[in-house]
């Protein structure tokens, strides 16, 4: 399954597409796209499952951050965080499954600083 990205300007929308879009990029493709400044990662919601604070979020709490593929993998593989499913699925995918993506989003999330 791909990840959600968002064009950062009208020019970027011409290169990619308006609004949020899904891509199954590799680490290198994602790094190149982000370095171009044309796209940004749509933040996802994570739950801190380890016993260390992550992005100033206590264990058991959730936070929202636009983590790169490798950053997310490192935190997930390291046992620090787990992705909160369905929080930021593409609307089309959510509709296919009969899930209201907005309603599924966690209520008490905080934005991560420096993510």
């Amino acid at each position: 399954m791909g990840r959600l990205y968002r064009a950062t300007s009208e020019k970027a929308e011409a290169v990619y597409e308006p609004g949020e879009f899904e891509r199954d990029w590799t680490v290198e493709q994602e790094n190149d796209a982000l370095a171009s400044g044309l796209v940004e990662i749509v933040p996802r919601t994570y739950k801190v499952v380890g016993d260390s604070r992550v992005y100033e979020t206590a264990p058991g709490d959730t936070f929202e951050a636009g983590l790169r593929i490798e950053q997310e993998k490192a935190l997930v593989d390291g046992g620090h965080v787990a992705l909160v499913e369905d929080a930021k699925k593409p609307k089309a995918a959510a509709a296919d499954e009969g899930v209201d993506a907005e309603a599924a989003a966690p209520k008490s999330t905080r934005k991560a600083k420096g993510a």
Binding site: S52, R68, Q71, A74, L75, D77, G78, G79, A112, G114
Partner: protein
Amino acid sequence: MAITVLTNAMVLVGGVDLSDHVSKVTIEDVRAPVDVTAMGATNTAVAKGLGDAKITLDFFQDFAPAKVHATLQPLIGSSTPTAIEVRPTNAARSATNPAALMQGLLMNYNMLDGSVGAASAMTAEFVNGAQAGMSYPTS
């Protein structure tokens, strides 16, 4: 602010708070000296060249899930810079508690580095991996 004794520095590696396993932090923000001495000079003239930065952290090793090894080991194989942040204390960023923030690449990771009878400690060295270099945000 008064002179302080370092007892509670905060160390975030990729957003993970590993402060309780860190025994020493070293933050280096340097500029390369460029020789611009011209004919007629009586002393060497030096200008500041390109910047560079490095954060070196001494850890007590811990192989438990979500601890030191689990956090650092993925970074040595990664070529994507990760945020390294150090603050004088574990309070929020402020003018009197500024952060040193750098997008760093882990270049040295010695999983084990110790002698018999000693605490299992190791050093991780992060070098600057982004054009922003070292910054010192206060908020």
